[in-house]
């Protein structure tokens, strides 16, 4: 990964809370740790020498327990909290040196934030709330409401424009929060424990929603979470924080296979169970690898996808289009359903593991009626294991 696809990078960031940060920084420089600093000076070290970068278009999860500095970290990005030392770069430009006016532009155009407490304005309608960021940037009324309506539609809140936040459920309120952030069309979405206040069912629903939105818009999302399941589920890459330090950055798989410390390992211990899961629970229906037979002609240009499933209008499986050899000059070939390994919806996940590992294509999962329910990949099994 080169420098050009980095959208945000953090270099040796420190944040000390208290009246004499210089004193605390001197102690940190001489090798003292966070606890020593607190004991001797009463200064609280929030973030300790953090360096990492976030790539364009990825969901980057910063994970840690409460007090690990993750919420401080996300506020350093848009400078709601000023770093004590170090630099942050957005698209190669240093944010840490911006004037107040330039900072306003960054907050209005480049980064929008979604909050754990929703932080909606109780005196404004849903529409006005969604348009808040645009109103602050002095976008004209017609334009502002058009974009706010679009954003509300994206999060599934069309029709609630004139309700007030207190009339909506928690999940819907957070959708408003998300719409408010999306309406600004920011290049980076900062989400501070955005789903932590929601009940588990709604949380999962919102996570799926976020994954869908991200897939559609390729927006960079920085997601703060204390929940490992959530981190693995939605994160392309995860940064794990402990006591103000970033202890490991990597894909869920990398971290799972190669934990950098005992702390990380202990964290991931709980992630091991495939009890009671069925193939159908794990399978996902991904529309971009499914081709309707009736519209084949127009969409078979999808040779860039190595494997695509062919279905009729009722989702009955007609075959698999194997384009994995196209790069080597072979033409795509069609595999009939009889030659494919197929899994029934109710098959225990345990029995699918080997099969999924042995075939090159995503395993098709069929319903009792024989229609395509979704597909399973090694990756999706891994993610689902962490969830349950």
């Amino acid at each position: 990964m080169g420098m050009d696809d980095e959208i945000l990078s953090v270099k040796n960031i420190f944040k000390v809370f208290g009246s004499q940060p210089e004193e605390a920084m001197r102690m940190l420089d001489s090798g003292k740790n966070k606890d020593d600093v607190f004991r001797e000076t009463g200064q609280v070290v929030g973030v300790f020498d953090a360096s990492f970068s976030v790539r364009k278009g990825e969901i980057f999860v910063i994970m840690g327990l409460s007090g690990s500095g993750k919420s401080t970290m996300v506020r350093l990005f848009n400078r709601l909290i000023e770093p004590t030392s170090g630099s942050i770069y957005l698209n190669g430009n240093e944010i840490t040196g911006l004037t107040d006016k330039e900072l306003l532009t960054v907050r209005r155009k480049d980064m929008s934030m979604v909050f754990q407490s929703f932080a909606l304005m109780p005196h404004m309608t849903v529409l006005d709330n969604a348009a808040f960021g645009l109103e602050v940037s002095s976008v004209g009324e017609a334009e502002r409401y058009r974009r706010a309506r679009e954003a509300l539609e994206q999060v599934g809140l069309a029709g609630h424009e004139y309700s007030y936040p207190h009339q909506l459920s928690g999940g819907m309120q957070q959708r408003v929060g998300l719409a408010r952030a999306l309406a600004n069309d920011p290049s980076i979405l900062l989400m501070d424990e955005a789903f932590s206040a929601l009940d588990p069912l709604i949380r999962t629903e919102m996570q799926d929603e976020l994954i869908r939105l991200q897939a559609e818009q390729q927006r960079t999302i920085i997601f703060i979470s204390h929940d490992l399941d959530e981190a693995i589920r939605i994160g392309h890459r995860i940064a794990i924080m402990e006591g103000g330090r970033v202890v490991q950055v990597g894909t869920p798989q990398e971290i799972l296979n190669n934990p950098a410390s005992d702390y990380v390992e202990a964290f991931f211990k709980s992630v091991d169970s495939s009890r009671g899961l069925r193939a159908g629970d794990v399978a996902r229906f991904e529309s971009d690898i499914v081709i309707h037979r009736s519209s084949t002609d127009s969409r078979v240009d999808g040779h860039s996808i190595p494997y695509a499933y062919l279905t009729d209008d009722d989702r009955h499986l007609l075959g698999l289009l194997d384009s994995s050899g196209v790069a080597q000059g072979e033409s795509p070939r069609e595999i009939a359903p009889a030659e494919l390994s197929v899994v029934a919806f109710d098959t225990p996940l345990h029995d699918v593991l080997d099969l999924a590992a042995s075939v090159p294509y995503p395993l098709p999962v069929l319903t009792r009626e024989g229609t395509l329910h979704g597909t399973i990949t090694k990756d999706s099994i891994l993610k689902s294991l962490s969830r349950h």
Partner: protein, 317 residues
Amino acid sequence: MSVLTILDPFQVLHIPLGEWVEASLNYLVDNFRGVFRAVRWPIDQVLDGIEGLLQSVPPTIGILLGSLLGWQVAGRRMGLFCAFTLILLGLIGVWSESMTTLSLVLTAVFFCGLFGVPLGILCARHDRLEQMVRPVLDAMQTLPAFVYLVPVVMLFGIGNVPGVLVTIVFALPPLVRLTNLGIRQVPADKIEAARAFGCTPGQMLRRVQLPLATQTIMAGLNQTLMLSLSMVVIASMISVGGLGQMVLRGIGRLDMGLATVGGLGLVMLAIFLDRLTQAMGERSAIAGDHRRWFQKGPLGLCLRLFGIGKLQATPNV
């Protein structure tokens, strides 16, 4: 004449505070009369305007407008209640005095709002300023009115205008305090969200802090109004007209009838104003009703009659 002793040093040591005050007051009166005359002017203008308006409206029209206002602000029951109190004021024969008192009170509240709300906002933003202002507010509220009644007369003369001034001194503090409190009590997460979306301090104030503090500020305004009314009797000692004068004259002549009528008039006026401002403060808190204020009550009725309201109606749920 006496010697300094440890046990009672105050035989000799003492600060001639009273003499100083007198001297400086005399100095002010001699040299700055013009300045104080100038201060009178804006108050005079506002007071004359309001009083002229209120006195020129015939009681029946006044009662009608007052009731409609009550209806508009807080519904039909409030409208009836306003009509009841205003009619009672007329029946006990104090309509004209009530209007004089009302104009005094409204003028005082107008100037309190003009200075109190911005001062409260500044206090909410600057802790140092709040620390400095607080003892001054304490003094304004606790200092017996009689103490500053005399200097005010010396500087501004007698009549309604100095009466309004005295009232402002007494009634201003709660508005400043509650504006300050209301803005400080705006939840931190709303402030943070507004900052994260790039609000300037001015936008923050207009779009977030003031709207969310409205209820508290209105409570402050309500208190200011009540304190102004309670000041009316004392202010009548410097020849301020209206209901207070009736009470004062009644006490002076041991005419209990006159004093009671004046007192009752004050109470009715207080109840009328209190309910009205309270309803204004609570208006935003009513849940489940999404019509804007102009779509309800008599105004809404007119708009609907002329078919304008439909355009503004919000297509809800």
